[in-house]
């Protein structure tokens, strides 16, 4: 028997509210399948299961708020037979069944309050009301809840992580020229943004400096080989969220761009996946669009580094031949965890990042 527990969807989460089951008894599920929607303080998240199996019992009712780690459901492993046969046909009043079908509610997921645990019309109504109320309340309280969640994570960061900060001015003439030329030949549906180049360059630089990528947990650094880059996305109503684009280092620029566009869209629409919330191994924030020259970020625990990009703007610059000129310049910054790395390595990481941005055609 396998237990599916409520996963942590970020260091600022200690409980969640089950909004909806996406599975029912007897369903076969595959690893990575979205099985439930859980509301966190930041967003309603599509929770993916991390193993294959057959649904045996759903233990939590939609509407319930439960702590991280609570068993939500039990599943039979592939090939496993149920020790006791799964509950037989539920007693459901015909009116309740009809009503539930009309509302798209699965009667098997309901607790029955009628005789012998039968599901009644009232049970169906209660569930329907709860789930629509849940969604509404989720939107109106979200800003306050999100502020609290950000406060908790950032306070923990400043309390626990000895940050150090570095910055580097990077000439962006080549990257800009390359991007303009690439986009000139592309239809609007395939256009790239500079942000995609930033993300890819960070991922490639991380390959050489893995101590910026991973988690600090239980007093030790756990490096992660893949760069799952959390992208700080500001929400239009205030607050921010930083879900991950997975394996950025292994993706082409077009793939990174497509994933970034998709992620921003889904973050704003409130349909992120659990793996995107819990996986980021480093965060990238870009505040240049708001016009600031540089940003020194607060690391999102348990991550150990954050890369910040400011605005690309024309600045006086001394070129390789020693001539003073005007060129577009970007200030990249690194906030990193001194428990894991030193400024020397951080400086080398930023230099590596700078070098990648000088070779946009290799990104």
């Amino acid at each position: 028997m396998l237990e599916f527990t409520l996963p942590s969807l970020g260091s600022d989460m200690d409980e969640g509210k089950l909004l909806e089951w996406k599975i029912k008894l007897g369903d076969r599920v595959r690893k990575g399948q979205v099985v439930a929607i859980v509301d966190t303080s930041k967003a309603a998240v599509d929770v993916e299961i991390w193993f294959d199996g057959t649904v045996h019992e759903l233990l939590i009712e939609p509407g319930a708020t439960i702590p991280v780690g609570t068993v939500l459901a039990t599943l039979l492993a592939p090939g496993e037979k149920a020790g006791t046969p799964a509950t037989g046909r539920r007693k459901v009043s015909p009116a309740a069944r009809k009503h539930a079908e009309a509302l798209g509610i699965d009667v098997d997921t309901l607790a029955g309050s009628g005789p012998g645990g039968a599901v009644t019309l009232a049970d169906v109504d209660a569930t329907a009301a709860q789930s629509s109320l849940g969604r509404q309340a989720a939107t109106s309280d979200r800003q306050a809840e999100m502020r609290k969640a950000i406060a908790a994570a950032m306070s923990r960061s400043k309390r626990e992580i000895p940050h150090y900060y570095l910055s580097e001015a990077i000439a962006m003439e080549r990257a800009q020229a390359w991007l303009s030329e690439a986009n000139a030949g592309r239809p609007i549906t395939g256009r790239l943004l500079m942000a995609a180049l930033h993300l890819k360059a960070v991922a490639l630089a991380l390959k050489k400096y893995p101590e910026m990528n991973g988690f600090f947990r239980d007093g030790a650094f756990q490096p992660v080989a893949a760069a799952h880059i959390g992208v700080a996305i500001s929400m239009r109503q205030g607050g921010l969220i930083a879900p991950a684009i997975h394996d950025v280092g292994e993706k082409t620029l077009d793939e990174v761009m497509r994933d970034l566009a998709d992620l921003v869209k889904r973050a704003r629409a409130g349909s992120l996946k659990s793996s995107e919330m819990s996986d980021p191994t480093i965060t990238v924030t870009n505040l240049g669009e708001q016009g600031v020259e540089s940003v020194y970020g607060v690391i999102y625990p348990p991550q150990v580094a954050l890369v910040g990009f400011g605005r690309i703007a024309p600045r006086p610059w001394v070129d390789a031949a020693g001539w003073l000129c005007v060129t577009p310049v970007l200030t990249a910054s690194l906030a990193a965890d001194h428990r894991v790395s030193d400024g020397h390595r951080g400086a080398l990481f930023l230099a590596e990042l700078r070098d990648w941005l000088q070779q946009p055609d290799k990104l």
Binding site: S180, A184, I188, T189, R191, M194, A195, R236, A261, V264
Partner: protein, 81 residues
């Protein structure tokens, strides 16, 4: 398409990206992106939305011409049938 119809399409597209915008408070002669706080991803999505609805391709080189809402309307007005 009349100028009025075009304006409706443009504003509807804008609202799909920035639902909090009060259309009546928009100044047609002031830079759109700063009034509405559109970052480059929002801007790209805005232009993509216009492309889908109006079948107008807007080359990146023309972005500089599209500063205010009036600019956007006249640019599109000259290209939409």
């Amino acid at each position: 398409m009349t100028q009025d119809e075009l304006r409706k399409v443009v504003l509807a597209t804008l609202l799909s990206i920035a639902p909090e915008v009060e259309v009546d408070e928009l100044r047609a002669d002031k830079p759109l992106r700063t009034q509405v706080d559109l970052d480059s991803m929002d801007w790209l999505n805005f232009l993509l939305g216009l492309h889908e609805k109006l079948a107008v391709d807007i080359p990146e080189a023309d972005y500089a011409k599209l500063v205010t809402l009036s600019d956007v309307l006249s640019y599109l007005g000259a290209r939409v049938r």
